[in-house]
């Protein structure tokens, strides 16, 4: 009964629903960012433009870090 009440409470609050949806979406996006970073690293090995490859890897890493930081921020304040 208490569990049912908890679920009812969670889903009656738009704020909580929005936060849960954001956590799920950002988690999936983090996975995508990880795949992008790995692929960029692999492609840089296939064709390497010296001087820009490192910057490219850094951009991919920043993108991944941004996704993870946002996920942690969202979960912490849930």
């Amino acid at each position: 009964m208490e569990i049912a009440q908890l679920i009812m409470h969670l889903f009656s609050d738009q704020n909580t629903i929005a936060r849960i949806a954001l956590v799920i979406l950002i988690a999936f996006y983090g996975l995508f960012a990880l795949i992008v970073a790995i692929q960029i690293n692999n492609l840089n090995r296939v064709i390497n433009q010296i001087g820009f490859a490192a910057i490219f890897n850094l951009l991919a890493f920043l993108h991944l870090s941004g996704a993870l930081a946002l996920l942690v921020f969202t979960v912490l304040f849930l």
Binding site: L25, I47, I50, L70
Partner: protein, 222 residues
């Protein structure tokens, strides 16, 4: 007098014919439509056409193999996604201007709205990164030994094809439409012998120059 192969007189044909396989063209003279990297050997991250690029190497490159041409899609072909990004950047401002219309239906805290906004801009950043990656790594390379086509059409899809220069039979280009004529880019087709795969450099800049350089390398007429 017999030569070292034991042949003499009319048996010696094309004795003075130059080697075309390892011929490397000299940088072209700068023209009005050339990007700053052309002909200099210095390749930048936005270079789409570079002759004799000095600081590029690729997987399985042989020790004495020299890159003669680096070809990417013309820069102008990136314009559609750049315009899309510029529009997407301003969408939250437009929505916030009409936020009063949504207030009776949606009651979400400012903190959540901020996270959603940051997530939105992160997605745009990811979109830019992926689009630039697809352009940057879809590259055609012409070396003094072979032609290599790196085709990255999706973040999880890449296709690498290569052929030796002596298997190339013909090289042509098409340039149709006003946009392609104005910005001087077109599709280059490299036809190879027999059952070998044909190559296509899609929307390559200055196609006439590229065709001339490849024709020179395979020993065709100027």
């Amino acid at each position: 007098m017999p030569n070292q192969n034991g042949l003499q007189g009319e048996f010696i044909i094309n004795k003075d014919k130059p080697e075309t396989q390892n011929k490397v063209p000299q940088p072209l003279e700068s023209g009005a439509n050339q990007t700053p990297a052309e002909g200099t050997g210095k390749v930048r991250f936005f270079s789409n056409f570079c002759i004799n690029p000095s600081d590029v190497n690729f997987e399985n490159q042989e020790a004495d193999e020299k890159i003669v041409l680096l070809i990417r899609r013309d820069l102008i072909t990136n314009l559609p996604w750049i315009i899309a990004v510029l529009i997407l950047i301003f969408i939250p401002f437009i929505i916030s201007a009409f936020s009063n219309l949504f207030t009776p239906f949606f009651n979400i805290s400012t903190q959540n709205q901020l996270i959603a906004l940051l997530f939105y801009y992160l997605i745009i950043l990811g979109f830019v990164l992926v689009q630039f990656t697809l352009w940057y790594f879809s590259v055609g390379l012409v070396t003094n030994r072979r032609i290599i086509d790196f085709d990255v059409s999706g973040i999880l899809y890449k296709q690498v094809s290569e052929t030796k220069l002596n298997l190339v039979e013909d090289v042509t280009y098409t340039q149709n439409g006003s946009i392609r004529s104005i910005f001087d880019y077109g599709d280059i087709f490299v036809q190879t012998a027999g059952t070998h795969e044909n190559f296509e450099f899609d929307r390559a800049p200055s196609p006439a120059k590229i065709v001339r350089i490849i024709a020179d390398l395979i020993g065709g007429p100027r």
